[in-house]
């Protein structure tokens, strides 16, 4: 395993005072907390920060960590655990803030940490009765196609194994339910950390975010597509084949359509009760370059037409 630079993780100097370390922890925790920071790596970085603070925020642990640094250990070096006797004592599990809660959800402290400070003590009991496993929360990015039709996914999760504080990497195949919308949460029963008995296992909660799509945007169950039109299609109307998540649909663009106007395809959005609609937003485009003949026709059209698109701006000087 690699030696970790806890000072670097916390962004403090190796001679930082306990107060400075605490302040740095608070500032970074506020920035990296997975409930605040939606970046994909926030959970991992927050756990790393928690681990660093656990080591540096506790005087005996920090002393033994500093001892290793004094022996020349530096970040990234292949590290071998010191013998048992050299391990640090210290409070087994202090909450990051006064009050000593039972710690962060994602107790993903590294093997490096465990080799230095031993296996972490179990958490304080919360309620009487047999121990229930913890719920685990993760975010998962799904495609709009998966939101529409459901799907299967192989997930790689980093999970805390409950009392040994060692990270377990678990590969899990999950069925993504059909009709998820942005921000919606789905649950895999019993896939959290293990409880005293299998029926007391925690759950795994996955919050869906929908990946940007080449054609569509989704707002809840409503799916929107920008549909480019030629000027004559907008003026004269047209029959157009329009992509939807469920396959192409024939759409009648009415004569005299305006740019930005939205046509609704009822029930062609994301499935649900009731299913969402697909919005087709008309986008007026101008043909690139015109032949001499075409230009002549446009001029004729301009002469023929009495249309003033700027009449509402008042008289022009």
């Amino acid at each position: 395993m690699k030696f970790k630079d806890y000072y670097k993780i916390m962004g403090v100097a190796p001679d930082a005072s306990p107060d400075q370390i605490k302040t740095a922890y608070r500032a970074l925790a506020r920035k990296l907390h997975p409930d605040v920071n939606k970046a994909k790596d926030a959970q991992a970085r927050f756990s790393e920060l928690g681990e660093a603070y656990e080591a540096l925020g506790d005087a005996p642990k920090r002393a033994s960590y500093d001892e290793l640094r004094a022996q020349g250990w530096r970040e990234g070096q292949e590290f071998h655990a010191p013998p048992q006797g050299a391990r640090a004592g210290g409070d087994p599990r202090r909450g990051p803030f006064a009050g000593g809660g039972d710690g962060m959800d994602a107790d993903q402290f590294s093997d490096f940490f465990s080799s230095l400070f031993g296996q972490r003590a179990g958490r304080g009991r919360r309620e009487a009765g047999p121990q229930r496993g913890e719920d685990i929360h993760h975010r998962i990015e799904i495609t709009l196609e998966e939101a529409y039709a459901g799907g299967e996914r192989q997930l790689q999760l980093q999970l805390p194994s409950d009392e040994h504080g060692q990270t377990v990497r678990r590969s899990l195949r999950v069925t993504i339910p059909k009709g998820l919308v942005e921000g919606e949460v789905f649950r895999l029963r019993g896939q959290g950390t293990p409880g005293a008995t299998p029926d007391l296992n925690g759950n795994l909660y996955l919050e869906a975010t929908i990946a940007p799509h080449r054609l569509f945007t989704a707002d809840g169950r409503t799916v929107t597509l920008d549909l480019p039109l030629a000027p004559w299609e907008a003026v004269l109307g047209a029959q157009v084949s329009v992509p939807t998540l469920g396959g192409p649909a024939q759409v009648t663009v009415p004569a005299g359509s305006k740019d930005g106007q939205i046509l609704r395809l009822r029930g062609r959005g994301l499935p649900g009760t009731p299913p969402g609609d697909q919005h087709v937003r008309l986008r007026l485009t101008v043909p690139p370059g015109a032949s001499a003949k075409a230009e002549e026709l446009w001029r004729e059209l301009a002469k023929e037409s009495a249309y003033d698109p700027r009449s509402h701006l008042g008289s022009q000087p």
């Binding site: 803030f97 959800d105 590969s171 940007p212």
Partner: protein, 110 residues
């Protein structure tokens, strides 16, 4: 638990909905949030369970998630309980606006 699961053993995901009903005791057991904390979170309005008194309160799955989220913010970031509704509202609003921006950006082609 620690064993990898081979392909073909997909775990079915179920959408968390607001219709399941739990009592305070169940909510505490399932969410891992202490009963007294739940009572405090209810009293400041983080969630509004149905029922007049703690013994008759009922909580939904979605409310359990909200309780856990409030608890994490309190425990990890020392967010004061009586500021919690404001903090949660602001976080939700930021997330809503981020989604809006993402959607607009995602919708721009090339």
């Amino acid at each position: 638990m620690s064993a990898d699961q081979g392909p073909g053993e997909a775990q079915a995901g179920e959408v968390v909905v607001g219709s399941t009903r739990y009592t305070l005791v169940e909510a505490s057991r399932l969410s891992g949030v202490q009963r007294e904390v739940i009572v405090s979170l209810v009293s400041v309005g983080v969630i509004v369970p149905r029922g007049p008194a703690p013994e008759s309160w009922v909580f939904s799955d979605l409310e359990l998630l909200q309780l856990q989220r409030a608890w994490r913010l309190h425990r990890d970031l020392a967010v004061a309980l009586d500021s919690m509704p404001l903090v949660l509202d602001l976080l939700d609003e930021v997330e809503r606006l981020r989604r809006l921006v993402r959607r607009e950006q995602g919708g721009v082609q090339e």
